[in-house]
Amino acid sequence: MFNEQNEAVTDESSEAMERKIVRVSKVTKTFKLGKVDVRALKGVDLDIIAGRYVSIMGPSGSGKSTLFNMIGGLDKPTSGKVFIDEVDIAQLDAYELAWLRCRKIGYIFQTFNLIQVMTALENVTLPMIFGGMGNETAVEKGMELLDLVGLGDRYQHKPFELSGGQQQRVAVARALANDPAIILADEPTGNLDLITGEEIIALLKNLSWERKVTVISATHDIKMLNVSDQVIWIRDGQIEKIEERRDLTISVGSVGEKW
């Protein structure tokens, strides 16, 4: 499974590019709120191609977060199937789900969610340790990843000693720790100012471009649209429309120009 991923990095053949990393098939989700059933998703079909930068847009209450959590293996559908890398997540037990989260998916949160008691480096190495990597190898790779996000000299700092943008960079490094196939970013710029937000978007875009990682983000941020290969609009529990990069009519901003 990892070998495929490696090939995708080195070999840019169109075949590798067209691999469906996430497949959502006829998914519905019903929540029980008291005695009322709330249908958050009403039959969603969606394919996400590996290596793309995908944004999920939609107003709050549209089912955006529900779909997003489903793709991330954080929630199971009421009916229908979700495949991550051709594995049906409903079939996985707790151990396999944990493994999937550890090795296949990197999470980036709106509120950064670094472990407060650990240094930047320890935060980055934690998923590698969960993944069974030896301490020395993990530290070495953790330093490389922190260098990659431009925080190599701050590895000893605790989260509260870092700015919001720096914390999110550490979070990006942490998400990359186990070379995931997918990075899930939930409003990654929601708690950042304009310029820092643009830097994080550029970083994510860069990573998806150079490492062929699929980036899936739920967002309200228009800046994010400029770099997206695909934008999925959700409304009222259904997909309203899917726009490809070339169809996007939004004026290209400073971030978009780089790509």
């Binding site: 707790a94 999470y107 472990i115 969960f130 190898t137 990659l148 929601g190 150079e210």
Partner: protein
Amino acid sequence: MIQNISNIVVEKSSDPVERQVVLPFKQSLAISFKQIRVRFFRSLITTLSLVLAISFLSFVRVSNDVANGLLATGDPDFRRQLIRAGYDLGPEDVRTETNPKQRWIVILSILVCVVGIVNAQLMAVTERFREIGTMKCLGALDRFILRLFLLEAGMQGVVGAVAGAIMGGLFSLVNSAIQFGTPSLTHVLLGDLIFSIAFATGVGFLLSLAGVFYPAIVASRMQPVEAMRAEH
């Protein structure tokens, strides 16, 4: 930057990581220790209730040991002093046990202490909801979280129980020395004394673990999706 990326990719393919999710014991210990250190004041207060309950238990038991030591000398003078001090001694008794009233007070104080620990640990769990959710997102299993909380409570338990047992024991010895004179201390059987203090320490350690058990289970069953919730 590109150099870096290719390095990492090469390293990945040569890295023989198996399909596993682990958290080595040493790492768990380090994380738990950091948690205590960062929340030192809170941990201290949680531990303090344990210290007080255990020192009371230790006090009662050690006082009893002193009384037994005095009785064992067979000196009628000591016996009179003990009766005056409130010990319930029949004319034939050569040993004394803690009386029911004392036992009830000790049990009550221990109950209050456990409730206090459960309360404090539940708060600690609530406070760390997002952190636990994040760890789950990074691939932590239920048992990692359970182990972290048990280790933390275990460390607090050892420190609190040892401190409480020694404190209560010392206080009891000082108290006896004042009440019956310093010679009373020479009659205490060392074995009894050590047993009492060890007993109190053990009880304290178990109480700390018992108190954290329910909160730790609540924490370990938490869903990783909690980490996504921004409002906190």
